[in-house]
Amino acid sequence: MNGKTIMACIDAAHGSLTAHTDEIALLDQQIGDGDHIFNMLRGMEALLAVRAQIEAEAFGPALELAGSKVLSTVGGSSGPLFFSLLNGMAKAAASNGMDVAGFARIFAAGVDAVGQRGKTGVGSKTLMDVLIPVARRFEELAAAGAPAAAVLDALPPLAEESMLATRDMIATKGRASFLGERSRGHIDPGARSSQLMIAAVCARLAQSS
């Protein structure tokens, strides 16, 4: 795991978001204001523009560089939240091994940082409804000694199930919260983009492992 792996994951996530742009824009127009996917893609494009720098770094510094680029280009809620994910992981990378258990802790630390910045846990109809269950399952699998291939196999279906579950929730955070009851029946766009990126990254890592 190094900057090249990080960049490969970014490419995979970018590809998936690009392929689902219209769908996410529509979800966001239903319960938000329609900017989420465009902010995410602007961030992704900024990351592609510094490919050589990210690829030249080690794992932790590559995440840190990606985080700072996201913070300065994305804006909206997604900027600080995805910065927190990447930067939280970068900080945890220094004190954890590059094995399944180490990565589980690194990812969990990133998700914790997102929760602290957004002051949100599960049940508010946000990206946390995907990130938290995935981080928990990752740690459970690691604790049970699961090999990397099994983890990469298990997380995408859970992410998808968690994303779909946001459909029946009432938003209590972010711009969708102004809809109250009217937010029910729509999948949260942040949950959808997070789930897509998790699926794309897992698939990419499964290829190389």
Binding site: D33, R42, L71, G75, G79, P80, G118, R175, S177, F178
Partner: protein, 329 residues
């Protein structure tokens, strides 16, 4: 989508270039990171920095100038700007007395400004604006939104800062004004974010969205089109229920267009507003009518009431010279 655009990705850059060129006597545009600052800073004055998504013009960049803001950070359309913009703007306009960030209460704006506040090397404080009474301020929402009342805070605190007040006093004044200010809007049509290319929400020819937010977020209810008096009455009832002004209260009344409603209609709405208030022994001490906090090309309007006291009235009347607001000089 029919808009004056060359390339969608260049919308903000080219719009800001035009703004800066048109108002070069008042403002300077910094391009990387993007912020608009006052051409002439006043040493020894607390600096006021605001910002938010673009598409609400003249808010906020149009209020950079004497007696209002020292800098504004424009984000992409309807998207909060980023912390590096805010930190660079704060550093550029701080003259040693610190910086007051004026922030509308939206998750993205709050998170980005919080990060800027934490990371900035400049002494700073923050005032959150949440004047929109359309959404409940409960633990089940992100809280009330900041809308057109923001310009009232920017004008009054801007005047106080100009008079030499310190950072704590400016922050406390901003919070006091926010508590005494309430707004609610109504939309007749949707708006189209350039990057999206299609309208944000669907609304029938005979429908209105009561309590709409300034990004086209839904409000209290979808209703049938009604007479101006009835619409004004519904907005004012909600505002007055929240503000609870005493009989005889002196009010600042802002009738604000959302971008697609002509001034003639706004004056008619102001007339309905004035008569409604008169019947309830509430006095229009200071009126302001215009499209000052917009939502792209959305047709509709918002009404803002602010309960004035003598100090606030004096700061409202003091000179201001910004691209979007000018009197007394």
């Amino acid at each position: 989508m029919k808009k004056f655009i060359n390339r969608v990705d260049d919308f903000l850059t080219e719009s800001l270039a035009g703004f800066a060129a048109a108002h070069g006597d008042l403002v300077v545009l910094n391009s990387d990171p993007v912020f608009v600052r006052r051409r002439d800073l006043k040493p020894g004055k607390v600096a006021l920095v605001s910002g938010g998504g673009s598409g609400h013009e003249p808010l906020h960049s149009g209020f950079v100038g004497y007696g209002m803001l020292d800098a504004a950070c424009p984000g992409q359309v309807f998207t909060s700007p980023t912390p590096d913009q805010m930190m660079a703007a704060a550093k550029a306009v701080d003259t040693g007395q610190g910086v007051l960030f004026i922030v509308k209460n939206y998750s993205g704006d709050v998170m980005n400004f919080e990060m800027a506040s934490e990371m900035s090397e400049v002494q700073n404080a923050m005032v959150l604006i949440n004047d929109d009474v359309a959404v409940e301020n409960s633990s089940y929402t992100t809280g009330r939104r900041g809308v057109a009342g923001t310009l009232v805070v920017e004008k009054l605190v801007g005047s106080m800062a100009e008079s030499g007040a310190n950072l704590d006093a400016c922050k406390a004044f901003g919070e006091r004004i926010n508590k005494r200010t309430a707004s609610m809007g109504v939309a007749f049509t949707s708006c189209t974010v350039p990057a999206a290319g299609t309208s944000t929400f669907k609304i029938g020819d005979d429908e209105i969205e009561v309590g709409v937010g300034i990004h086209g977020e839904p409000g209290r209810r979808r209703a049938r089109m009604a007479a101006a008096d009835a619409i004004a009455g519904e907005l004012l009832t909600a505002i007055v229920d929240d503000l609870k002004p005493q009989a005889g209260a002196q009010l600042l009344v802002l009738v604000n267009g959302l971008g697609g409603t002509p001034l003639g209609e706004l004056y008619l709405l102001f007339n309905s507003t004035r008569l409604w208030l008169q019947q309830r022994d509430l006095h229009v001490a200071r009126p302001l009518v215009g499209s000052l906090t917009t939502s792209l090309e959305m047709a509709g309007a918002s009404i803002t009431l602010c309960v004035l006291d003598d100090e606030m009235t004096a700061h409202w009347d003091s000179p201001v010279h910004a691209p979007g607001l000018r009197w007394g000089m």
